[in-house]
């Protein structure tokens, strides 16, 4: 047994205390008054009895407790033979598993380089394998012997060939800065000199913006093995749109790598447009290294499908096939469908016409008024313009509350009847000679961009019936501070209240260009506030609204309805077309590869050399490990305090029980 702090053994001198206590505690008799000693006979205990130790078991318990306490502070440990205890250094072999490692034979070369790196690790040192892209994944919980690491590498490679495990290139982008900072923390925790071997394609676009993040000062050395081959690569992205629902316009953008072995000449590529396996068009293009070209396939007839999609791909796959083909869903221009509905009150014909005309001006939206006459809200519509009676403090209709709670957006127009008109008479009719009140204040900070609208000619003749409450924010109000446009706060959806009947009697707003602009801004704001975007890059977090289901490109469910209520942001790490299904219908979400990974240009030689040089290893003899320290590391210390501490507790407990029972002495001194 060894001791970390043997000086604490001096506390064993305290053993004298219990000995003295037991030897002399009873030596002085207790003096007490007594009425008469005539019947008392002097009977002092014999000398031998007075001098002998009493309660020896208790003395033993107390002495052992003192010994245990001293040992506890002295931190005893025993040496335990440990093969890994011989390690003088620790090694980390980090393999790049980003998208660019799918190019050519890069990953196979990386595995081979890893085997060589592991073979070069001195026997007795320990190794930890790691895979990295934007994150670093350690393979195995603890550093292991080199031969164990080699087995783990082969096992990981086998699983990787089946598309499983961390040792397979994914679709995310690498981040050398995050890798180096993680290695720096590992070096801090290792307790041994940490030598890192980084096996990567040394991609220029994986360098961090702040180059200082590449510096890991606690690393003993850094070796960078470049497995890139300077291949040329062209990536492809495309977007399709249809203006009339019959024909589509597909725009494909091709980007060439900035560097590569054959960057001396232009890259010739042929782009094929197809649908359901049928080739619809071909276009050839030549790209300069680092260049960008745009191809337009116009007037392409939409396939007969509910969800028309096109396949756009390079005719011949190049170095990185994963960015050579995309599936493009067709979005319909002007398809922003807005449903009109009425609850309780019928919308006046004038109001319906004004709203429809404003929404469909410039083809910015299409109006669906099919459910207007039913008095109910359409189930699958997301954008709503609703006529409802909200005046005199009336509550929002429950179905409208549900629509917003499901993440829907609605503009509610107060269609309630009002008996009086502030200016003039006429029961709601436009008063020709009334001057009306202009707009007095507009909330220009709101994303509705209301400050861009010219409100100068708008006049309000009658006050609205809606009285804002604590949940509301008034966005537009008249000069006499009467609210016109109100936003009601909601955790899920978007809700605007227009304090105006839009029948031409309350104001001249429907006749003014400001109304058309207001409707367009409202629909734009609705779309901008949609919680699920249409396009993401692999690795971007996706924040999901409650009660939706996410389907992978192959149709398998990724996130169930019940899970989204409590789930945090999710990361989609495979490119493709995902489907987000919720109460308000389905939405297609395009997850694209990270364009940084498509640029296979390597890091400049000078920059790479500078990176290496900052972590240049010192000669092995420069910082020799002392022999004593080396010996200390050949054994693993097994601390004994986990055994001593319970022993001490047990001794104290036994001492307490014994003292209370046998001495009839309580701890409070009575």
């Amino acid at each position: 047994m060894n001791l970390v702090a043997p000086l604490y053994l001096a506390a064993l001198a305290a053993l004298a205390l219990p000995w003295l206590l037991h030897r002399f505690s009873d030596a002085r008799p207790e003096r007490r008054p007594f009425p008469s000693t005539r019947f008392l006979e002097p009977t002092p205990p014999p000398v031998s009895r007075r001098r002998k130790l009493r309660h020896r078991a208790l003395l033993a318990l107390r002495a052992l407790a003192v010994v245990a306490l001293a040992l506890l502070f002295a931190e005893p440990w025993i040496a335990r033979p440990d093969a890994l205890g011989n390690a003088r250094e620790r090694h980390v072999v980090a393999i790049d598993t980003s998208l660019s490692m799918r190019a050519g034979e890069r990953f196979e070369r990386a595995l081979e380089a890893a085997r060589e790196a592991l073979a070069a690790v001195p026997a007795g040192d320990t190794v930890q394998l790691a895979a990295f892209d934007r994150d670093v994944t350690l393979i195995g919980d603890e550093p292991v012997a080199p031969e164990v690491a080699r087995d783990a590498l082969e096992a990981g490679a086998r699983r990787g060939r089946q598309g499983d495990g961390p040792l397979v290139p994914g679709f995310a982008a690498a981040d050398y800065g995050r890798l180096m900072q993680r290695l720096d923390r590992l070096a801090d925790d290792a307790g041994l000199p940490l030598r890192a071997t980084l096996i990567s394609d040394a991609q220029r676009t994986s360098l961090p913006e702040r180059r200082n993040a590449l510096y890991a000062p606690r690393l003993a050395s850094l070796d960078i093995i470049d497995v890139g081959a300077g291949e040329a690569n062209v990536s492809l992205v495309a977007k399709a749109a249809s203006g009339d629902g019959a024909q589509a316009r597909i725009v494909a953008t091709l980007v060439a790598s900035a560097g590569g072995a054959d960057d001396a000449g232009a890259l010739a590529r042929e782009v094929v447009l197809s649908s359901d396996g049928r080739t619809l068009a071909r276009e050839s293009v030549r790209l300069e290294p680092g260049g960008r070209e745009r191809l337009v396939f116009d007037a392409i007839t939409l396939p007969e499908s509910v969800e028309p999609r096109f396949d756009v791909a390079l005719a011949t796959a190049d170095a990185l096939p994963d960015d050579d083909a995309v599936v493009v869903p067709v979005g319909l221009d002007g398809e922003r469908r807005v449903a009109l509905a009425a609850i309780g009150e019928r919308a006046t014909d004038a109001a319906r016409v004004f709203v429809t005309t404003a929404l469909e001006a410039d083809g910015s939206a299409s109006v669906d008024a099919s459910t207007l006459a039913t008095g109910q809200l359409p189930e699958d519509a997301w954008r709503l313009v609703v006529f409802a009676a909200l005046g005199d403090g009336a509550e929002l209709p429950a179905e409208l509350e549900r629509h917003v709670a499901r993440g829907g957006a609605a503009l509610v127009i107060d269609a309630g009847r009002r008996d009086g008109v502030l200016d003039g008479e006429g029961g709601g009719a436009l008063v020709a000679d009334a001057r009306g009140r202009p707009v007095g204040r507009v909330d220009e900070s709101h994303p509705l961009a209301l400050g861009e609208i010219d409100w100068s000619d708008v006049r309000f003749f009658a006050p609205g019936g809606i009285v804002p409450d604590e949940r509301d924010t008034v966005l537009v109000e008249t000069a006499d501070r009467r609210p016109v446009l109100i936003e009601r706060a909601s955790d899920s959806g978007l809700l605007l209240l227009l304090n105006e009947r839009l029948d031409g009697g309350d104001s001249n707003l429907p006749f003014q260009p400001a109304f058309v602009a207001l409707m367009r801004h409202v629909v734009d704001w609705f779309d901008a506030g949609r919680s699920v975007p249409e396009r993401l890059t692999v690795g971007d977090p996706l924040v999901l609204p409650a009660n939706v289901q996410v389907l992978a490109p192959d149709g398998s469910p990724l996130v169930a309805f019940a899970d989204t209520a409590s789930a945090g942001p999710i990361v989609l790490d495979t490119p493709g077309l995902y489907t987000v299904a919720g109460a308000l219908g389905e939405q297609t979400l395009t997850v694209a590869t990270d364009p940084r990974e498509s640029d296979l240009a390597p890091i400049d030689a000078d920059a790479l050399a500078g990176w290496r040089d900052r972590h240049a290893a010192e000669p092995p003899d420069a910082t020799p490990v002392s022999e004593g320290a080396s010996d200390a590391r050949r054994i693993r210390r097994l601390p004994l305090w986990p055994f001593v501490l319970p022993l001490l507790a047990a001794l104290l407990l036994a001492e307490t029980l014994y003292a209370n029972r046998r001495l009839d002495v309580r701890r409070d001194g009575t």
Binding site: P29, E30, R32, F34, S36, F39, P42
Partner: protein, 300 residues
């Protein structure tokens, strides 16, 4: 026919200690006691029948002897010795050993007993005398039937504190030298005296026709002292310091003390005196009632 048990209030010493003055203690003890005994026509220290006298107006009809009236057609009233102004002398031991006992000392209990008896004596219009002694007579109040005899006795008791050693024989001899009339002598002491010497001191008084009652006041810690360790016992009446093993206290001391008590009781019997042990934790009214009943039975 068995007599019904007389209710006793059981005034524990700690209750009496809260009453404050001795007079109040005496009134509380005696009034409660006589309330419980009011059906007894022969209550008092002086129970001996003396003579008949003709009934006079104002006499208590309870004392009319109806048997004589039936035979003679004349009313006669019984007269007891108590009505002849018997002298009652109370001797209180105020030695240092009487100060032993917590929280109620033997002297406290003894003072309450003496005060109660003094009150009872004056209620019966007997002459009251009081002697306070330790190793000599500290105070002596000759028997007197004057109304102020009780307040004087109470005042004397109030002032009494534990003093020096004990010399009961000297106190009794002093009493004998000054007492000429027959009466009742009550000795209240812890009786740290030689039983033979006590016999010699009591015998002349008994021969002189004195009725003697001895109250032996003890304390539980004195009767059965407890000690877990070797103790040094400090004699309250001398400078003696005795180191005693707990084992001796359990056996030897108890045996010796019990033998002493037996010897004292035997000595009292030999001179015809009443002997009664009174513990300092004993309810005083119960002890007093027990003793009076004993006297009643003895005199019957």
């Amino acid at each position: 026919m068995a007599r019904a048990a007389t209710p006793v209030r059981l005034l524990r010493p700690e209750v009496l200690a809260r009453l404050g003055t001795l007079e109040l203690v005496a009134r509380t003890v005696v009034d409660g006691l006589t309330t419980g005994l009011h059906r007894s026509p022969h209550f008092g220290f002086s129970q001996e029948f003396a003579e008949y006298r003709a009934y006079a107006e104002g006499d208590d009809l309870r004392h009319v002897d109806w048997n004589v009236y039936a035979r003679t057609d004349r009313a006669y009233v019984k007269r007891f010795e108590g009505e002849t102004n018997t002298g009652v002398t109370l001797l209180l031991d105020a030695s240092a050993s009487m100060g032993f006992g917590e929280p109620i000392s033997k002297l406290d209990q003894a003072k309450w007993l003496v005060a109660s008896m003094a009150y009872m004596t004056r209620r019966q219009h007997d002459a009251l005398g009081l002697v306070v002694f330790d190793d000599g007579v500290r105070e002596m109040q000759q028997p007197s039937a004057r109304p102020d005899s009780l307040p004087r006795a109470i005042g004397l008791l109030e002032r009494t504190e534990p003093g020096a050693g004990t010399d009961i024989v000297a106190a009794l001899e002093s009493l004998r030298a000054t007492t000429t009339r027959r009466g009742l002598i009550v000795l209240v002491s812890d009786l740290y005296a030689d039983p033979d010497a006590l016999i010699e001191a009591l015998q002349p008084l008994a021969h002189a026709g004195q009725d003697i009652a001895v109250f032996h006041v003890t304390d539980p810690a004195e009767v059965a002292p407890e000690a877990r360790r070797v103790g040094a016992f400090d004699d309250l009446e001398s400078d003696a310091l005795v180191i005693v093993d707990p084992a001796f206290l359990k056996e030897g001391y108890r045996r010796r003390f019990d033998a002493h008590c037996e010897a004292l009781a035997g000595a009292c019997r030999r001179v015809g005196a009443d002997y009664r042990e009174l513990s300092s934790d004993e309810p005083l009214d119960a002890a007093l009632q027990g003793y009076l009943r004993f006297r009643e039975r003895r005199d019957r």
